[in-house]
C-alpha cells in the first residue's frame, strides 16, 4: 500500500480542489486504506461543522437600511455629476414628448420638489457625516498602526528640506512644511501612506513625548476635512482644506497644542516658503 494521503491532498479532496488525476489517485488509495478513509470523513465532517457553527452572526436590520441609503445617495450624486451633453441628449429623446403632460402636473411637482429636496439634503448630510466618521476612524487607525509597528519613519530627518523632497515622484502633489514650529515640537520624519485608497504624506512630529501624525493629500471634491475637529478613542483629530490640499492631524496631545501646529501648517500652505 502506498504512503498515507498528505494533509494537502486530504484538504484538496474535501474542498473539491483536486484535479481529475489527483482525485483518481486519492480514490484509489482510499479504496484500500481505512485510516485515510476515516481521516477524509473526519475532515468532511469538520468542514460541515465549521460551516454550521460559523454561520452565526446576523447583521442588525438597521445596518442594511443604512447601507442601502448610502448606496442610493451615491447614485444620486453620480447622476447629478453626469456630463451636460448626456443630460441634454437624454432630455431630447426621453423627456420632450412628455412635456405636455408635465405641464399639467407642474403644480403638483413644485409642491413635491420641496419635500424631495428636503429629504435629499437630509440624506446627503447623513452620507457626509458617515464619510467623515469613517475618515476619522481610518486616520486614527493609521496613526495607531504607525505607533504600534514601532518602526522608524521611512525618511528620518528633522530637516524639512530633507523630508519634503523625499516625496518627489512618490505623490502627485507638493506641500509646504511650517518653518517655525511651536515650542517643544520637532519633526521626526515621514512615511508614504494610503488614506481612503489615496496616497498621502504622513508627517511625524513629536510634541513633548506625544506623537503626532499629519496626513496631507490632494483635495477631494467633497472636501471632507473642511474645518474638521473630532475626538475618537481618546485621540484628537483636526483638519483643514486649501484649494488643492487636505490636511488632517491626529494625536493624544493637548488639543490646543495640536491646533497650534495645524495653524502653522495652514499658514505655511499660503506662503511661498519652500
Amino acid at each position: 500500500m502506498s504512503a498515507h494521503l498528505s494533509s494537502t491532498v486530504l484538504n484538496g479532496l474535501v474542498d473539491g480542489e483536486l484535479s481529475a488525476d489527483q482525485l483518481a489517485a486519492a480514490q484509489a488509495h482510499l479504496d484500500h486504506c481505512p485510516a485515510c478513509t476515516s481521516d477524509a470523513l473526519a475532515q468532511t465532517l469538520l468542514k460541515r461543522s465549521v460551516a454550521r457553527a460559523g454561520q452565526r452572526y446576523a447583521p442588525p436590520p438597521a445596518l442594511g437600511g443604512r447601507l442601502k441609503r448610502l448606496a442610493s445617495d451615491n447614485a444620486i450624486q453620480t447622476n447629478s455629476a453626469q456630463p451636460a451633453s448626456d443630460r441634454e441628449q437624454q432630455f431630447r429623446f426621453t423627456l420632450r414628448p412628455a412635456l405636455a403632460g408635465w405641464a399639467v402636473a407642474a403644480v403638483l411637482l413644485l409642491a413635491a420638489t420641496e419635500v424631495v429636496v428636503t429629504q435629499h439634503r437630509a440624506q446627503t448630510f447623513n452620507a457626509a457625516s458617515a464619510q467623515r466618521a469613517a475618515l476619522v476612524t481610518e486616520v486614527c487607525d493609521l496613526h495607531v498602526a504607525t505607533l504600534a509597528a514601532g518602526l522608524p519613519p521611512q525618511v528620518i530627518s528633522t530637516d524639512r528640506h530633507t523630508v519634503k523632497p523625499w516625496f518627489e515622484g512618490k505623490i502627485p502633489f507638493s506641500f509646504n512644511l511650517p518653518v517655525d514650529l511651536p515650542a517643544d515640537t520637532k519633526l521626526d520624519g515621514a512615511n508614504l501612506n494610503y488614506l481612503e485608497n489615496q496616497p498621502v504624506a504622513q508627517l511625524l512630529y513629536s510634541i513633548g513625548h506625544h506623537r503626532v501624525s499629519v496626513f496631507i493629500r490632494q483635495r477631494t471634491s467633497a472636501g471632507a476635512m473642511d474645518s474638521l475637529a473630532a475626538e475618537h478613542s481618546g485621540f484628537d483629530v483636526s483638519g483643514f482644506s486649501t484649494d488643492d490640499l487636505e490636511v488632517v492631524a491626529v494625536s493624544d496631545v493637548d488639543p490646543a497644542r495640536l491646533s497650534d501646529l495645524m495653524s502653522r501648517f495652514e499658514g505655511s500652505q499660503t506662503t511661498n516658503s519652500r
Partner: protein
C-alpha cells in the same frame, strides 16, 4: 451542501446585476458575519462593514464588471480590518507566521503529518453535532487561520478566490488551511478529553 438563500441570490445575480447596490447588499450578511468573527463584537463588526462598504462604494468605478465582485469586496473588508485597531494584533500574528514560512514550515505539501491523528478520537465529538464546541474551538484560532477557514468552509470560496482576498499565494492558502484544520481538531480533541475526565 445546501446554500443559504442569500448565497443563491448572490450567485444568480452574478454578471447580470450592474449597480453597486445590487451586487453588494446580498453579501451584507456574509460580510457582517466574517467581520464579527474577526473583530469579536457587534459594534466593531458594524463599523468594519460600514467602512468597507463606503470604501467599496467610492472605489466602485475601479471595479471591472464581470470580474469577481465577491472577492473584491471581501478583500476591502479584510484590508479595512487589518488597518483597524482590532486588526493590529492579527498583523503581529501574521508577522510571526511569516517567520515560520521563511523557515519552510508552511510550504505546501510539507505540513507535519504527525499533526493528523488518524485515530480521530475527536470524530466522536463532531458526530455529536456539537456546534458549540466547534464554535468555541474556532474562537481560539489566530486570525490568519480563522479567516482562511471561514472563507473556505463558510463562504465556499475556491483556493484561488481566497488567495485573491487575502493577497497571498495559493500555496500559503493551502498551508494555512491545513494548519487551521489541524488546530481545530487538536482543540476539539483536547476539549473532548477534558469532558471525558469530568464524566462519572
Amino acid at each position: 451542501m445546501a446554500l443559504l438563500p442569500w448565497k443563491h441570490a448572490a450567485r444568480e445575480s452574478g454578471g447580470q446585476a450592474s449597480t453597486f447596490e445590487d451586487l453588494a447588499l446580498p453579501l451584507l450578511p456574509s460580510l457582517y458575519n466574517i467581520a464579527f468573527w474577526l473583530s469579536g463584537n457587534a459594534h466593531d463588526a458594524e463599523d468594519l462593514v460600514q467602512e468597507a462598504f463606503l470604501k467599496a462604494l467610492r472605489g466602485f468605478t475601479t471595479f471591472e464588471p464581470g470580474t469577481n465582485f465577491r472577492a473584491w469586496i471581501f478583500r476591502i473588508l479584510r484590508n479595512t480590518y487589518l488597518t483597524s485597531r482590532t486588526g493590529l494584533a492579527s498583523l503581529r500574528t501574521i508577522a510571526l507566521e511569516n517567520e515560520l514560512e521563511e523557515q519552510g514550515e508552511s510550504a505546501p505539501g510539507v505540513y507535519p503529518e504527525g499533526a493528523i491523528d488518524r485515530r480521530t478520537p475527536e470524530l466522536n465529538l463532531i458526530r455529536l453535532n456539537d456546534s458549540a464546541a466547534v464554535h468555541d474551538a474556532m474562537g481560539k484560532l489566530p486570525p490568519p487561520l480563522l479567516e482562511v477557514i471561514l472563507l473556505c468552509d463558510l463562504e465556499e470560496m475556491k483556493y484561488r478566490e481566497i488567495a485573491t482576498v487575502l493577497e497571498i499565494p495559493i500555496g500559503t492558502v493551502m498551508s494555512r488551511l491545513a494548519r487551521a484544520r489541524a488546530a481545530l481538531r487538536t482543540l476539539l480533541q483536547t476539549d473532548f478529553q477534558q469532558h471525558r475526565e469530568f464524566l462519572p
